[in-house]
């Protein structure tokens, strides 16, 4: 049993080393030695091209059912569609090794390298200066070096649609918004949502609650706080609550489930990604932020020779944001949503990015 395992490891590593050697010889840019752990070959697919994409997650890492998982979906697509070799790393829970992860990927010969989340802005800038030959991308933050691409999203546009959906579906004319951290980023969600609600019902009541102030990022991983905030809104008469609070959204869904009301998810199609089946049914729709599209398009553009130094914004026009339809709860108002979307795309409506 033990011997069997050892031999399979040995076989795997020999195969991995061979494949990597082939990849290194074949690739023009493969000057850096492939310093991946031999056993690592067992966990990742065999490399078929010289495209090696590294990705570093935000705190929370893979399995957050939201932001990070969406980024990973884009990476996986690059693996299948562009036959890229991929490696994804999660930071320590205190986030102290973000810069370290980027450099480990760079040292291991990965190019391009993607940092998921604005927390990477500072570390990406430093890493980009230290490794000028490698292209970096950062999700949710602006480009800050010649070899950094900023992948931005028009969250306010998607949130506007969520607002339209909430106001149309609300019976009490009272909805809520739970933001994780009161930062400029999350305020974009609020601004779009409020504008969307008001466009349908100008006198609608909107409760807004941020879990933590700007600079204190614990609000993205505090389901308890999310639950308390949403419970209050439901008790006060809100019947739909939209959350933009990362992991804390789970608390919002729990509160919705207890109050037998509805909630709107964020980033990923949370009706599909939330594990608890009893919570899935409360998620009327989710505001999709297609981080997967952003990540994949960036990798594709890189393969096509694109260089950094600028920002790419994914908006409604390119379906970088939108609403999910799993569960079919918003199918009946599809026309209304499509009209609102068209107005935004055509420029008839300009959605505010600040509340």
């Amino acid at each position: 049993m033990l011997g069997k395992r050892f031999s399979s490891v040995a076989l795997g590593s020999v195969a991995g080393v061979l494949l990597m050697a082939v990849a290194a010889c074949g690739g023009g840019g493969g000057g850096t030695t492939a310093s991946q752990e031999p056993t690592g070959a067992a966990s990742s697919e065999a490399p078929k091209s010289d495209l090696k994409v590294g990705l570093a997650f935000d705190v929370g890492g893979r399995g957050d059912k939201s932001f990070n998982d969406a980024a990973y979906a884009g990476l996986e697509k690059a693996q299948t569609d562009l036959s890229a070799e991929i490696k994804e790393l999660s930071p320590a829970s205190d986030g102290s090794n973000r810069g370290d992860l980027l450099r480990q990927l760079a040292d291991a010969g990965f190019n391009p390298i993607i940092g998921v989340g604005f927390a990477y802005a500072e570390d990406i800038k430093k890493a980009a200066e230290e490794y000028p030959d490698i292209q970096f991308a950062v999700v949710d933050s602006a480009s800050n070096a010649p070899n950094v691409t900023g992948l931005l999203f028009a969250e306010e546009q998607g949130s506007y649609l969520a607002g339209v959906a909430a106001a149309t579906k609300s019976e009490s004319g009272h909805v809520g918004f739970v933001g994780g951290v009161e930062s400029d980023l999350i305020k974009k969600f609020e601004a779009g949502f409020v504008a969307g609600v008001k466009s349908v019902k100008a006198d609608a009541k909107i409760d807004v609650k941020y879990l933590t102030p700007d600079g204190d990022f614990s609000g993205f991983k505090a389901p308890d706080k999310g639950k308390v905030a949403a419970e209050k809104m439901y008790q006060d008469g809100a019947d739909i609550v939209y959350h933009a609070s990362g992991d804390s959204g789970l608390g919002v869904f729990q509160a919705a489930s207890a109050a037998k009301k509805k909630a709107i998810g964020v980033d990923s199609d949370q009706r599909q990604t939330v594990k608890e089946t009893e919570l899935q049914s409360v998620i009327m729709t989710s505001m999709l932020k297609r981080v997967d599209v952003g990540v994949f398009e960036f990798i594709k553009a890189f393969q096509g020779g694109a260089k950094g130094g600028s920002n790419v914004t994914y908006d409604l026009k390119v379906d970088g944001v939108g609403l999910s339809t799993t569960g079919g709860e918003i199918d009946d108002i599809k026309d209304k949503l499509d009209a609102a979307k068209k107005d935004i795309v055509d420029g008839k409506i300009t959605v505010p990015a600040k509340p």
Binding site: E37, N97, D100, R103, E130, S141, A142, T212, G215, D216
Partner: protein
């Protein structure tokens, strides 16, 4: 064999057994998670293949150990007299934000600039620790409760300060809040020349090997001298071991509580500086949190002695460094947290077991020397 050596050897053996047991426990966890324990062990020692990756890894390892060591020292000073300063977390955060801000308000030659920043950090940390100390001696408030509560205040106060009164310029589209950038003269010179001395490439990572490690070493020696070679250190130890006896021999317990707490807080104030002066150049939202709590584990592991704390900090840093390498080997990095937790628990248990064992050996030896078969009570 002399009793002291006997005991030291036993302690060492206990620690080694604890570490080995911790690795064994983790191997089980890794197998359950579907990984290869051997691959994990290899990853722990995998510092990368290219020369640059290796020197980077070494720098990360040492850089991580420095704040852990200082945190361990801060906690240990309180532990020495049975004062549980759980407030190190809050003390270092509030000290870091204040020091980073004060440092950014003026420009002076590097030695002066850095000294002022260090003094401000120590002062703020010490003053913040003075609050629970005064509460304890005047109103008898338990310092554990007081410091835990003060942690919440400090954490929220520091995040308020960094986005409010102490906020600096932010670039367009930048979401991280930060204090104003420190002038160049505030950045602690790195020690990258050491790598060149060993014929290695200098690390690029996080500003290279942080020079603050020198301050940490000096601090460690100072704390050792104060605790082991001064009357003050003796008083601290005496108050911790037996309060009433210390009082009877003329040690004022109130003074001791206040001075030990303030000293602990002042050391805690320095925890954030290696990172700020070595790499970030400001206090911002990416500032490493949680070091104060880790310091408790490090101090426990190091048995409240500077040398032990240094070893414990290096061990923790060594394990933390492997987070990336483990993921390259396809093993979840949470394994590191399990190893760290298991080591702390097992070392505490091992200390107790070896302590009892050593006492029994001592008793037997004494009994033999007295030429009797019945054991004699000997306080070790």
């Amino acid at each position: 064999m002399p009793a002291g050596l006997n005991r030291a050897l036993l302690t060492l053996a206990g620690a080694v057994v604890a570490v080995l047991l911790a690795i064994a426990i983790c191997s089980v966890a890794i197998i359950v998670a579907g990984g290869e324990p051997l691959a994990a062990l290899t990853a722990l020692f995998d510092f990368g293949e290219s020369a640059r990756a290796q020197s980077n890894s070494i720098a990360v390892f040492l850089n991580r150990a420095v704040p852990l060591f200082i945190a361990g020292l801060a906690v240990a000073v309180g532990f020495r007299m049975n004062l549980f300063n759980i407030g190190v977390e809050g003390q270092y955060r509030i000290a870091a934000v204040c020091a980073a801000y004060v440092g950014s308000t003026f420009t002076a030659p590097a030695p002066i600039q850095i000294t002022v920043i260090i003094l401000v950090a120590a002062l703020v940390g010490g003053l913040y620790a003075l609050i629970p100390a005064v509460m304890k001696v005047t109103r008898g408030v338990n310092e554990v409760i007081a410091t835990i509560m003060l942690n919440y205040i400090a954490i929220n106060l520091s995040s308020f300060l960094v986005r409010g009164p102490f906020a600096g310029q932010r670039a367009e589209g930048e979401l991280n809040v930060t204090t104003p950038k420190l002038p160049e003269s505030a950045m602690f010179p790195d020690l990258n020349f050491l790598f060149e001395g060993f014929g290695m490439l200098p690390p690029t990572r996080n500003g290279g090997l942080w020079g603050f490690i020198v301050v940490a070493i000096v601090l460690g020696v100072l704390v050792w001298v104060v605790l082991e070679r001064t009357r003050f250190g003796f008083n601290i130890k005496a108050s911790g071991l037996n309060g009433p006896a210390a009082l009877a021999s003329g040690v004022n317990p109130k003074t001791m509580v206040i001075s030990a707490m303030v000293l602990s807080g002042a050391i805690a104030g320095l925890i954030g500086l290696p990172e700020i002066l070595g790499d970030r150049g400001a206090f911002n939202s990416n500032f490493t949190a949680g070091l104060g709590f880790l310091g408790i584990a490090v101090a426990l592991l190091g048995r409240n002695k500077p040398v032990g704390i240094a070893i414990a900090a290096l061990l923790f840093a060594f394990l933390d460094r492997a987070q990336g390498a483990l993921q390259f080997a396809g093993i979840p990095p949470a394994v590191i947290t399990i190893i760290q937790g298991a080591i702390v628990l097992l070392v505490v248990v091992a200390n107790e077991v070896t302590g009892r064992f050593a006492r029994r050996l001592e008793e037997r030896r004494a009994a033999q020397q007295l030429g009797r078969n019945t054991p004699v009570e000997v306080t070790a």
